[in-house]
């Protein structure tokens, strides 16, 4: 009966002599293989067995039927996601009859998940696997040194990403030592090259941070950064890793595993320089405060002087103020030049300060005809008893100085001191 049915189905001529099994199978084979040379079939994966040879064997099922499938190594190397039982896929390929077993199977040439892109699925699967291992834990993330002096960059030397990074570094921190680990960042199997470059750069002494970078591109272009090889190299790095891959909207597995994710290569360079920027700013504001504080202290001294007897006080403070003014003058120009922020306000105050120094300095008094007599040691002479005939002294006039030798010391004016 079965024989008769088959005859009908295959439109075979009724034969007087029976066919051998081989003959029949050969006919079935030619019919099936010629009819289903390129077919796409949707079903759920079951009984998936990756063979040690690299070939995959599984079945596609729906409620009522099962289709044995084989996906050989060459074909499955292009499949980005992990095939798993229960996954709904569209398999494309040709039917093949296997005479010794009297069976047939689909020789799969391509596999696509249903309802989700294969890239997305592969991403999700790897992410989940790494997450289970704890590799995406925030607690694992190491802090990036505030101001690294030597950094490693893993990227393609021909890519714009490297130029972007070097430009940003040069602009923001001219004092940084860069070591580049060149690697391709696009193409088949390139993830192993990247992983190796990440391992190699750790052998260079004193590297404090590694930047793994690549410019923007399609998800296929960026794919190598979504691979386990790169993820493992990053997660086992003994040096903190900053990942700067693609554009702001691109998130790769490498980004997730890295200690810090920068939205772009340029941003990665900026993150490395943030400490330099912070400390430069701190230095600038401290230097400004330093000037401000000494200025305030001098003004305070000025007010104190005004309250004292001007003549004595002037003489006493003359040396200190003169010294201070010299220091201020020597450093003012330099400091103003070196501070990168706008200093017009401070400049103005410094100018005032100088005017005040002039006012409280001895010049005005000297202008009235007084002179200051200074001893050889620089001290100011106030009492004739402090010198003896023959001593060298110096007289400071409003204009110029005189070198004098003491002729005679008269003890006292005979007047009341004030």
């Amino acid at each position: 009966m079965q024989y008769g049915k088959m005859n009908t189905a295959l439109n075979l001529k009724t034969q007087a002599t029976p066919l051998t099994v081989s003959q029949l199978t050969a006919r079935i084979r030619s019919v099936l293989e010629e009819t289903f040379l390129d077919v796409a079939v949707v079903g759920e994966v079951s009984n998936f067995k990756p063979h040690s040879s690299g070939h995959w064997y599984f079945s596609l099922k729906d409620l009522n039927a099962t289709l044995p499938c084989a996906c050989f190594r060459k074909a499955n190397s292009a499949v980005r996601f992990d095939l798993q039982d229960g996954l709904k896929v569209v398999a494309r390929g040709r039917l093949e009859v296997y005479p010794p077993k009297g069976g047939y199977q689909l020789i799969v040439t391509s596999l696509e998940p249903v309802g989700i892109g294969q890239w997305q699925l592969a991403f999700d699967q790897l992410k989940e696997r790494l997450d289970r291992e704890g590799l995406l834990d925030v607690a694992r993330k190491r802090s990036i040194p505030l101001m690294p002096r030597k950094i490693g960059i893993v990227t393609s030397p021909t890519a714009a990403a490297l130029q972007d990074i070097l430009t940003a570094l040069r602009r923001r921190n001219p004092n940084i030592h860069v070591v580049i680990a060149p690697t391709r960042v696009q193409g088949d199997g390139v993830e192993h090259e990247i992983a190796q470059a990440i391992r190699d750069i750790q052998k260079v002494p004193d590297i404090e941070v590694i930047i793994v970078a690549r410019g923007g591109g399609s998800i296929e272009d960026l794919w190598c950064f979504n691979t386990e090889a790169v993820a493992r190299a990053v997660s086992t790095s003994i040096i903190p890793v900053i990942s700067g891959i693609g554009h702001e909207t691109d998130i790769t597995i490498c980004d997730l595993v890295a200690d810090l994710r920068a939205p772009t290569p340029t941003a990665a360079a900026e993150l490395v320089c943030r400490g330099h920027a912070e400390l430069t700013q701190r230095w600038t504001s401290l230097s400004r405060l330093l000037l401000l504080k000494i200025e305030q202290r001098l003004m305070q001294a000025h007010r104190q002087l005004e309250r004292l007897n001007p003549r004595h006080a002037l003489a006493r403070q003359h040396d200190k103020l003169k010294k201070m003014r010299m220091i201020l003058e020597a450093h003012r120009e330099h400091m103003l030049r070196s501070m990168s922020f706008k200093l017009s306000d401070s400049t103005h105050r410094l100018k005032n300060l100088e005017n005040k120094l002039q006012a409280i300095g001895p010049m005005r008094t000297l202008g009235r005809g007084y002179a200051i007599i200074r001893l050889a040691d620089g001290g100011v002479l106030r009492d004739a008893a402090n010198v003896k005939p023959g001593d060298q002294v110096e007289a400071w006039l409003q204009k110029g100085k005189l070198k004098l030798r003491v002729e005679e010391c008269v003890g006292d004016w005979g007047l009341e001191e004030d």
Binding site: P157, L162, N175, V204, W283, L290, I294, R297
Partner: protein, 84 residues
Amino acid sequence: MAEAVKSTDFETKLSDLETIVSQLEGELKLEEALSLFEKGLLLSQECELFLKSAEHKIEVLRKTATGVQTEPLEDNDDLFAALG
């Protein structure tokens, strides 16, 4: 040489400068204020030297039989050559 200055030394200098600035806010004799100011200026200048020294050094990693070594990058052509 600027390269010899460690960033930790720099951070120490910066906190010293910070201490001096806060001391200057207190009640000080003029002499003390002056000497602190001088110290502060010196620190400020040393910090500046560190911040502004341009030692932008770029090297390329090359594989050798025994491991890796770095070579200075003269220009971009070198960089391209590094890939072979």
